[in-house]
């Protein structure tokens, strides 16, 4: 009695409404926290006192507090007490609290399971509904096992309100514990005969879940239950039936149910011609009859398109589907355009031609005001580029690139480069495209693009003059785009003599003097905007120009001296070494700085997509970043020079220059610090592509190649008159070598391997490997294929490059593996009969 009195005298706690008002009236976060802490303390106190009167109000307040992001877990048990209360208000708030405050890991789940079990058997439908609703939202694995039986009973209830909720609970239970599916299978049988849309909808959802989870269930519904005709009938009724206000959404009859059915049809028709056949007509009907002016109709069309694309549908239907997406692209609603692009992106692989027809619309989406749409349009545009449309598409995409948001530029540039590489109609176009990319979005290209561009230029011997002039023009105007400056520097260094030659087709020849070229490069070197890597490129270029220019050597030498005191160690080291080259080793200079042989673009492009760096500050362009590669180069050099008496007499007399000895990763350091005594021993086996030089490194590597070439008297190219030779002939496999001398490096022999097969069966998985003694360097490029076709019907070719600096007689060991009629064949051989013309 005294307790009761106490309660009566105590003021009732604030109402929920008042608390919300109070919280809304505070001005600062701190005040809000204070109000809430005070309220929480009150609530805790009342929970502790086992107050029953205001429990519901307190839990409701706590739920509000929880929504604001404050901790409210201490209300969990109170929720359970509310659920157990007989009062409907208590139950309603209690179940809401359980859904919001409990998560799957709580032990309180055990307690809630008991209450749920009671309420699932309650005689008021709304209490059962509350229990089902909570179960469907928070059901855990244990609850699934404990309550699946109750749910199954309710699924057979005659009350539609309970039935639909039970069906969705069953969905949740199957998601949690798939093996409980069998329990619900019989109950699904009659669900599709219901008239109530809620039950139909949830039943379709349940069956979809079963089909999705188990192939057996899928087969069961396809065959025994005649599911497809049933669904077709329901769908037909939906679209044929007149206006039914209850289920109508802007003139479309129950879009929610339609979409659900279309989705189940997709599962049933996938990889099943019979089922697909049975739904062809209705899909065509939905696709043609659905109202398209509103989002709701389009949501159905969209689902229809997805279904058509996924099942084994007739080709006419597929074209219809792609055309729907094409129409979507012209829709005013940005959401629909987005969905269309997304779906086209998914189907572009299978229905390329149908999608190609909408190319111009897709390209127009590149100008869409919505960034997400532009992104999709860009991806789709790249997927549509082929050799027929590459010129037009690239024009659009480069135009897009100019205006594109910064976040697109990286992807866009590298995709343009890949596409240009794949579909370039000619080298001139390819180089022009790359030039445009570099000058429009120079700062956004990946590092591999730089290497790629450089090798591209170095391969295109007839376009070098044109390219170097264009590139030079570009950096005369703008030296802020680092990759552009790097490529330009490399090219100016390499082909500086062509800058003045004036011999360029079409274009107006560049009128420039040696001093002007050096002015520009010096500007780069002194610009605070240039990165260290760029400066390294440029410094090396200036040095190379000392052998290409005639009147400005003293200026170059002065520049080197000036940078000898650079604060950047890399630059300092380089310029000190370069300066040393002028003073102590001037006789070697022209050899060292000789023009590079054409670089292999394929090797450079290998790194595609791996290095995502956008500006060359940290990647392998700069030597210190990749000691491993550097080491390899050192070794390569060792191989080159290590073969005993060398015809390059100057090298052993060289002394270590005064360069900082600590920086061991520099070229000259390696070059001069070599252990020349290491003898050549044993063949050095090579696997195709493994040791091909990285073009990125060739800025320095160029010097090295120069060393290799240095002792040689320049020999004119001699491709004729060297007879081919049969390297191997056994079991119908014939391998012949034909020879060529490299124009730019007399020490390089290019061997083209041709493998033919005179048997009647193909030789699969054909792999050719070769090894040469250590005095040589060998590079195997990737073969044209791995299958040698039978009856001499075709060939596999592969290019082998051998660097032979010592002009020694070439010897080669070869190893062959292939699969012939299911058996693996391995063989080895030695080729010693190379014509002497190759090294003399």
């Amino acid at each position: 009695m005294s307790q009761l009195l106490e309660k009566l005298t105590m003021p009732a706690p604030a109402k929920l409404r008042d608390l919300i008002r109070q919280i809304r009236s505070v001005r600062t976060q701190a005040e809000e926290r204070a109000v809430i802490e005070k309220e929480c303390a009150n609530i805790r106190g009342m929970f502790r006192d086992e107050d029953n009167t205001y429990r519901c109000r307190n839990v409701a307040k706590l739920l509000y507090i929880h929504m604001l992001g404050y901790p409210a877990h201490f209300g969990q048990l109170e929720c359970l007490k509310l659920i157990a209360s007989p009062r409907f208000t208590d139950k309603r708030i209690g179940y809401l609290g359980a859904a919001l405050l409990l998560d799957e890991r709580q032990d309180v789940h055990l307690l809630v399971t008991n209450s749920l079990k009671n309420d699932l058997n309650h005689n008021t439908q709304f209490v059962v509904g509350l229990a089902l609703g909570t179960l469907g939202n928070i059901c855990s694995v244990e609850m699934s096992r404990d309550l699946a039986g109750e749910v199954e009973k309710l699924l057979k209830s005659s009350n539609a309100y309970i039935k639909k909720k039970a069906a969705l609970c069953a969905v949740r239970i199957i998601r949690k514990v798939p093996e409980l599916m069998e329990m619900f299978l019989p109950a699904t049988k009659n669900l599709l005969n219901e008239k109530n849309h809620g039950v139909l909808l949830t039943a379709v959802c349940l069956i979809t879940e079963m089909c999705d989870k188990s192939p057996d269930a899928l087969a069961h519904f396809r065959k025994q239950n005649k599911m497809v005709p049933q669904l077709v009938r329901i769908l037909k009724n939906l679209i044929m039936a007149g206006y039914s206000p209850e289920h109508d959404v802007s003139g479309v009859s129950d879009p929610f149910l339609q979409v659900r059915i279309l989705r189940l049809l997709r599962l049933l028709g996938k990889n099943d011609s019979e089922a697909s056949e049975a739904m062809n007509d209705i899909l065509a009907q939905v696709a043609t009859n659905t109202e398209t002016t509103k989002n709701v109709g389009n949501s159905i069309l969209y689902e229809t398109v997805l279904t058509i694309m996924d099942i084994k549908s007739e080709s006419g239907l597929r074209v219809l589907a792609v055309n729907i997406l094409g129409r979507f692209l012209l829709n005013n609603d940005k959401n629909i355009r987005y969905v269309a692009l997304n779906s086209l992106l998914k189907t572009v692989q299978t229905d390329l031609n149908a999608v190609q027809r909408h190319r111009s619309t897709i390209v127009d989406c590149l100008k869409d005001p919505d960034i997400s749409i532009r992104k999709r349009a860009m991806e789709l545009s790249f997927a549509l580029v082929n050799s027929n449309n590459v010129r037009g598409m690239m024009k659009e995409l480069i135009f897009f690139l100019e205006k594109a948001d910064a976040i697109f530029k990286v992807d866009c540039t590298s995709n343009i480069c890949i596409a240009a590489d794949k579909y370039a109609p000619n080298k001139r176009w390819h180089i022009d495209t790359m030039l445009k990319v570099l000058s429009t979005a120079g700062s956004y290209v990946r590092d591999d693009v730089i290497a790629h561009m450089i090798s591209l230029v170095s391969e295109a011997s007839t376009l070098q003059a044109y390219t170097v002039q264009q590139l030079f023009r570009a950096i005369q105007e703008d030296i802020t785009q680092q990759p552009l400056v790097q490529v330009s520097s490399w090219c100016v260094g390499e082909y500086g003599d062509l800058l003045m030659s004036g011999q360029v087709e079409e274009e107006e020849p560049l009128q420039v003097t040696e001093d002007e070229v050096l002015d520009t490069l010096e500007k780069v070197l002194n610009s605070s905007g240039s990165t260290a890597v760029t400066k390294s490129f440029t410094l090396t270029a200036v040095m190379k120009l000392s052998t290409r220019f005639t009147q400005t050597i003293p200026r170059i030498q002065a520049l080197m001296d000036q940078f000898g005191s650079s604060v950047d160690m890399e630059l300092q080291q380089r310029s000190v070494e370069f300066a040393k080259l002028f003073k102590s080793y001037d006789h070697m200079r022209s050899g060292l700085l000789e023009r590079m042989p054409p670089l292999d673009a394929k090797v450079g492009s290998k790194g595609d997509g791996e290095e995502a760096n956008t500006n060359g500050e940290t990647t392998a362009v700069s030597p210190p970043a990749s000691p491993a590669v550097k080491q390899e180069e050192g070794n390569a050099l060792l191989d080159l020079l290590g073969g005993g008496p060398s015809p390059a007499p100057v090298i052993p007399q060289m002394e270590k220059p005064a360069a900082p000895p600590a920086a061991s990763n520099d070229l000259l350091g390696d070059l001069l610090g070599l252990d020349l005594s290491s003898p050549a021993a044993g063949p050095a086996p090579m696997v195709p592509g493994m040791t091909a030089p990285q073009p990125q490194m060739d800025m320095l590597g160029g010097l090295m190649d120069g060393v290799a070439a240095q002792p040689a008297v320049q020999m004119s190219a001699n491709n004729l008159g060297i007879p081919s030779l049969t390297a191997y002939e056994k079991n119908g496999l014939k391998i012949s070598f034909s020879f060529q001398r490299d124009n730019s490096n007399a020490n390089v022999v290019i061997i083209t391997l041709t493998a033919t097969n005179s048997t009647d069966a193909p030789m699969n998985e054909f792999v050719f490997q070769a090894a040469v003694p250590k005095t040589f360097q060998l590079q195997l490029q990737s073969p044209s294929g791995s299958v040698v076709p039978p009856s001499n019907m075709g060939v596999v070719t592969q290019v082998i490059k051998i660097l032979n600096p010592q002009k020694a007689p070439i010897r080669m060991r070869i190893k062959l593996t292939y699969n012939y009629k299911g058996t693996d064949v391995n063989d080895m051989g030695e080729v010693n009969s190379f014509p002497a013309a190759l090294w003399q």
Binding site: F88, R92, S299, Y302
Partner: protein
């Protein structure tokens, strides 16, 4: 299926959160914070969808409130917009031209209405009439219970 639904104001205040798959409280807060920031930063002319982690996010602004749903990759985002719209219609019918304040002060009602439309991340009822009927009937049950209670309270009895 829908993974969760969020309602939040232009100031980034959460007005309703319903989660259809078990998520840790900490994780929930992180997700909400991130999504609210992303969506509030989007311009009106952008489309209503974004790809975020393994979900597709569908959102739409109605007056001062953002309605935001996370759905799975295979779900229909255009239909999700219809679900959001249906929910807004239900709120509107229930409150009579709903505004943000209605949802703030009657947040539990907003949950009850959502729970008659959706269950376990799937839509359960496509008839507006049926949804509202169920809500009205339950409100009535509640009033009956509270009426007896009020009489007792007036008498000073728990």
């Amino acid at each position: 299926m829908m993974k969760f639904m969020l309602l939040f104001s232009r100031q980034g205040k959460v007005r309703l959160q319903q989660w259809y798959s078990a998520t840790q409280e900490k994780e929930k807060k992180k997700i909400m914070r991130e999504l609210i920031t992303i969506i509030l930063a989007r311009k009106p002319k952008m489309c209503s969808f974004l790809e975020w982690k393994e979900y597709k996010i569908v959102y739409k602004r109605y007056a001062s409130l953002y309605f935001c749903c996370a759905i799975e990759k295979g779900d229909n985002e255009l239909l999700t917009l219809e679900i959001i719209h249906r929910y807004v219609e239900l709120l509107d019918k229930y409150f009579g031209s709903v505004c943000e304040l209605d949802i703030i002060f009657n947040f539990e009602k907003a949950y009850f209405i959502l729970d008659e439309l959706m269950l376990g991340g799937e839509i359960q009822e496509t008839s507006k009439k049926n949804c509202l009927k169920a809500i009205a009937a339950q409100d009535l049950l509640q009033e009956e219970a509270d009426a007896t209670r009020n009489v007792l309270e007036e008498m000073g009895l728990p």
